[in-house]
């Protein structure tokens, strides 16, 4: 009978070994120094394949965004491979190892470890702050460069980490941009919209922005009448909308994900609430390609202060077309950022001419990329790893398309402000 227990333990052990064998490549002990797999290099390295990792939610409620972002990275990789691979490494082909974070920090840590063991020289991800904080920490411990494409909390780049970089602007920049552009809009279009109610999803994402907005509104001449948090998967917003109706603000601002953003707008319309402007702050709904294209009976003239692609650039058109042809989906701003992150990483690998993670890290830090599709100036990182020129712009949905309406170099057309 003791044999049965022994059998059970042996079975368990065997299962574990089987799990090892099934997954990825050979495992090896890694410590915070470099992987022994990397060869010594001085510009004349010859490898066949170089691997980079993608960590995004491929399952769960954020899966569709996560998959779009992963696909964008794959597109960037395909472009490089079709053009002869990484030339400084003798034409090495780039391979993507894509991992599912399941939007779970623990899983994120495990996947970083797995990808590192599989030999990736850099990782891009993860879409949410919680996973970003955990995953970059693990990457820092191991010594793998991690480029955060989307992940908003300021704290991500405030921990003194060397291996963490970020493309999107930090969360505090969104309300700052909101408070900069609304007075500008007021001036340009000759109106005085002052009162704001902010409806936001209640995780760290929305709460952080709500706080910054509230603290700085007065200085910008605006007044936040009320702040209304809601769970991102809420089925009903009538309570919040009733409060908006009761207080009648000029502007309704919203930081949401896709589902709740849509629900908010539907409920506002249903309740006959007509603010003079609806302006999102990093709203996952108002900048979502599907929402923009399909919900035309409810989304007309909705604005969103969010990062965007540069509409006045030919490169952007090219990339959008390629993405659409390959994946049958529109290229959204999150995926555009992932694409850019991949471009940065691939460019760094090319400049480093090495598979050494530290050399690649240095190359990333020295990035000066002007040939990119985002609505910002050159991509340059400061000592904290933040893309300093990253900025949100003001987008507006008009007739089923999103246009950049402010600021100048990226402006596509005039805004409709206030709402007619």
């Amino acid at each position: 009978m003791k044999r049965l227990s022994l059998l059970l333990f042996a079975l368990f052990f065997a299962l574990i070994l089987a799990a090892c064998g099934e997954s990825k490549d050979n495992f090896r002990e890694t410590d915070s120094q470099q992987d022994e797999a990397t060869e010594e290099t001085s510009g004349s390295e010859q490898v066949d394949v170089i691997k980079i990792g993608s960590l995004h939610p491929l399952t769960g409620p954020q899966a569709s965004e996560g998959q779009e972002m992963r696909d964008a990275i794959q597109l960037a990789i395909d472009e490089v491979n079709e053009n002869g691979g990484i030339k400084s490494l003798g034409g090495a082909k780039v391979e993507l190892i894509d991992s599912d974070s399941e939007n779970n920090p623990e899983k994120g840590i495990a996947e970083v470890q797995t990808m590192a063991n599989a030999g990736v020289v850099g990782i891009i991800g993860p879409y949410t702050t919680a996973v970003a904080l955990a995953a970059t920490q693990e990457a820092e411990r191991i010594g793998v460069p991690f480029i955060v494409d989307v992940g908003s909390a300021d704290a991500i780049t405030e921990r003194g980490f060397k291996y963490t970089f970020r493309i999107q602007p930090p969360a505090s920049k969104f309300p700052e941009a909101f408070l900069k552009y609304v007075p500008q809009l007021n001036e340009e279009y000759g109106v005085e919209l002052k009162t704001v109610i902010n409806a936001h999803e209640d995780s760290d994402f929305g709460t952080g922005m709500a706080n910054v907005l509230k603290e700085n509104a007065a200085a910008a001449g605006l007044e936040v009448l009320d702040t209304l948090p809601h769970p991102f998967d809420t089925a009903d917003l009538s309570s919040d909308v009733n409060k908006i109706k009761a207080q009648n603000p000029d502007i309704v601002s919203a930081t949401t994900y896709l589902n709740d953003g849509q629900l908010l707008v539907e409920t506002l319309i249903g309740a006959n609430v007509k603010p003079k402007a609806i302006i999102g702050m990093a709203s996952g709904a108002f900048s979502n390609a599907k929402f923009i294209r399909e919900q035309t009976d409810i989304n007309q003239y909705i604005m969103d202060v969010n990062y965007a692609m540069n509409p006045n650039s030919e490169l952007t058109e090219e990339v959008k077309k390629k993405y659409e042809e390959k994946y049958n989906k529109g290229l959204g701003p999150n995926a555009a950022i992932s694409y850019t992150a991949a471009k940065v990483l691939l460019d760094a690998i090319e400049r480093a001419g090495s598979t050494d993670r530290d050399k690649i890290r240095e190359a990333i830090a020295e990035t000066r990329l002007t040939d990119h599709i985002l609505a910002q100036e050159e991509i340059v990182f400061d000592e904290t790893g933040q893309n300093v020129n990253a900025q949100p712009v003001v987008n507006q949905i008009i007739d089923g398309r999103s246009y950049v309406v402010m600021p100048e170099p990226y402006k596509e057309r005039d805004a409709v402000y206030p709402l007619p």
Binding site: M1, K2, L4, S5, L6, L8, F9, F12, L15, I16, A18, A19, C20, E22, S23, F27, R28, E29, T30, D31, S32, L58, T59, G60, A63, D100, E102, P105, E106, I109, A110, Q113, T114, N117, A130, L133, A134, Q137, E140, A153, A155, R159, D202, S203, D204, T207, G208
Partner: protein, 330 residues
């Protein structure tokens, strides 16, 4: 009898030397497995031995995680000390919960649902409170120093949770052999009968839930120090309550080895399924659902429970054949 101790000895050797032949990834699995084994063992005290099934142990886990973290980040209290303070607070909260439910005679499903609601209340409360940074959570600054409960590599965390798990298993073993343990089992089997036989049911259940809640908090602190980040959605979520009760259910509620064996089955299995079906979401959760149903239908006493039954039947069988032999020969 000796064979059991040899087996345990072998297991301990395996567990202690595990870092030598595992990879970093496996070590992470081992850590999470042991952590939930620990928490499940704590859960076992009130739910396994006393039969009062809690669906809300995330409440105590979360309290442990938040207490030590807030004390560290705001008041610079050493997390090892914060861990004990967290346990005390969790025990106090468990005491309140126990008082409300046992005093008013909530049993069975009513008790379970109350614990569920209780955990949710704590989660929503923390989520809405500025002092706890609401949903933004609290980050623990990276400061690698074992004295301050942070380790350079996973190995340090592994041994910490291994030792904690061994300690709590010993505690539960001692409880199972003690008067308290017998009382709890009696209460579980038939509370009214136990009461009429003189068992102070209220007092014993209160001790059990207080102990259970307080001990669970240690796992919460460990989790916080391992991830260096706490937020309501991770430490107070019902997912945590499920992960805490699953090992004991599968391994065998009310047994000493149950939560340990159960966690070693359930946690790696979860990993295995999510790896095998990496392009299909949620398949590991389907597997969990199937396991729960199979266990409850065919092995409600759990793996270890079934093993005990098997042993007892064999013993009885041997005894009977022995008696038969004697009656024939004599």
């Amino acid at each position: 009898m000796k064979k059991k101790w040899v087996l345990i000895g072998l297991l301990l050797v395996f567990l202690f030397t595990f870092p030598l032949y595992s990879t970093n990834y496996l070590l992470h699995i081992g850590i999470i497995t042991l952590m939930f084994a620990f928490a499940s063992q704590a859960w076992n005290i009130i739910s396994g031995y006393s039969g009062q099934f809690s669906f809300g142990h995330a409440a105590f886990f979360g309290v442990g995680a938040y207490t030590s973290t807030v004390l560290l980040v705001e008041y610079n209290v050493n997390p090892w000390i914060g861990m004990f303070i967290g346990a005390i607070i969790a025990a106090a909260i468990a005491f309140v919960l126990g008082f409300l439910t046992f005093r008013y005679k909530l049993k069975g499903a009513y008790f379970s649902l109350t614990t569920l609601a209780f955990a949710e209340i704590l989660r929503v409360f923390v989520k809405n409170t500025d002092f706890f940074r609401k949903t933004m959570g609290i980050m623990i600054p990276l400061d690698i120093n074992p004295f301050w409960y942070q380790f350079q590599t996973r190995v340090g965390y592994y041994y910490t949770i291994l030792i904690l798990t061994i300690i709590i298993t010993v505690i539960v073993y001692l409880i199972s052999r003690s008067r308290l343990g017998f009382n709890l089992i009696a209460i579980r089997e038939n509370e009214d009968a136990a009461q009429s036989l003189g068992v102070r049911t209220f007092k014993n259940k209160m001790i059990a839930i207080t102990l259970s809640g307080g001990l669970t908090a240690f796992a919460g602190t460990f989790y916080a120090q391992y991830l260096l980040f706490v937020k309501p959605e991770t430490v107070f979520a019902s997912d945590i309550s499920v992960s805490i009760l699953m090992p004991a259910i599968v391994g065998g509620v009310g047994t000493v080895a149950g939560p340990i064996v159960g966690s070693f089955i359930v946690t790696p299995l979860g990993e295995l399924t999510s790896q095998m079906f990496s392009n299909l979401a949620g398949t590991n959760l389907i597997a969990y659902g199937v396991i729960i149903i199979i266990i409850i239908l065919f092995m409600p006493e759990g793996v270890v429970g079934r093993y005990h039954d098997w042993v007892n039947r064999r013993k009885k069988g041997n005894k009977e054949t022995q008696e038969q032999k004697e009656s024939v020969t004599s």
